[in-house]
Symmetry: C2
Subunit: 224 residues, 2 copies
């Protein structure tokens, strides 16, 4: 029996290089030979660890969600202020997304590649749990009165995820030296205060909000 440390490290290396290749070329366009080669092993050795290329992908995605969840939970634990918890969660999510580990990127964008139904459902369930955690954070902020009434909280999460997850598309080219934290904070400020100039806002802001197209839906309770 080889040292367990080595085995774990070797699996980690494998997932790391696979994530990098999947991100750069896409899952379908990456061959197992490439992955094995980049990880410094022969294809047969890869096969020994993962029965199929797709099994490796699933493993990769599970790791991605695990790291996201862990990182966000940890970030959020340091305060009880709902708005601050949201801001810290945003930072943590973006930090993991933009880290050296490409697994989160792959999970977000190479999504359709998982053809096995069981595996797919397992990942969807993990994603749902993660998103429900976010809904909980948002719902708490709304419940404590920090969010404008009649805001559609589900839309808020979806827009937030979109803006933040999209950062991975442009960060390398357009970050301009900004850290993930700075970008998260900037988005936070945009979303929290809005970008309209003060003297151009409609006077009655709630009415104006609806007039501008703001959603006024029934507040669905959020499971946590």
């Amino acid at each position: 029996m080889t040292k367990p440390f080595d085995a774990a490290a070797s699996i980690d290396k494998l997932l790391d290089v696979a994530a990098g290749l999947f991100r750069r070329k896409g899952f379908a366009a990456t061959t197992v030979r490439e992955i094995a080669n980049a990880a410094g092993m022969l294809p047969g050795s890869l096969h020994y660890r993962y029965a199929s290329k797709e099994a490796l992908l699933v493993s990769l995605m599970e790791r991605a969600i695990g790291r996201l969840t862990e990182s966000v939970r940890e970030a959020v634990a340091s305060t009880r202020d709902p708005a601050e918890r949201l801001r810290l969660a945003l930072r943590a999510h973006l930090r993991v997304l933009l880290s050296d580990d490409d697994a989160v990127y792959v999970m977000l964008y190479d999504w359709r590649a998982v053809s096995n139904d069981t595996a797919r459902e397992a990942i969807v369930r993990m994603r749902d749990t993660y998103e429900a955690f976010w809904d909980g954070l948002i719902y708490e902020a709304a419940g404590s009165g920090q969010i404008r009434p009649r805001i559609d909280l589900k839309l808020l999460r979806l827009f937030g995820f979109g803006a933040i997850n999209w950062v991975a598309q442009w960060y390398e080219d357009h970050a301009g030296g900004r850290s993930p934290e700075q970008i998260a904070d900037a988005f936070w400020a945009f979303m929290a205060l809005g970008v309209f100039a003060e003297d151009r806002r409609p006077a009655d802001e709630d009415g104006a909000f609806v007039a501008l197209g703001g959603a006024a839906p029934p507040l669905e309770p959020v499971r946590r």
Copy 2:
């Protein structure tokens, strides 16, 4: 010589079904046989129109950018108010993204698949032009004083694109009967006014904006 109308229609059909397949399965995982079959022709006939699968993809993406550009330009022409132009542009972009035509989706998300450098650069150039047009719209709104001073306009565009382009990921499952226009307007309202409750905002909002992480960069001039 066959009627030109038929030829054009046949190309359109081809691009349509290819876009659908690329969106559902990804470019690399879709075979030319599948595309040809779905378009009601034999692989050889497809080859007659496009020398390679990638040439078809490039054609698809060019059409996507063309439709986006056309739609947004048209939408914006109806008013001179910069803020309103932005809102209408947002609507138009989202409308095309969520339309039956999957080409825009493919362009946004199956991006890495174009390996040919020349073709890739051509598409990048078209994308840049489109984004520069958006920067122009945003810059005008800022210039007319409708946007809070010291907002990083480039970040604003990037966040906006992220939130809106991400809608394609969830629209089918979570739209809840909302039209693309309603969703665009909701995002517009979020971004314009912010989601913080009035009585929870910091008093001096510009100072608070920076304190909350809002960017305060030099305003780069935007080419149009």
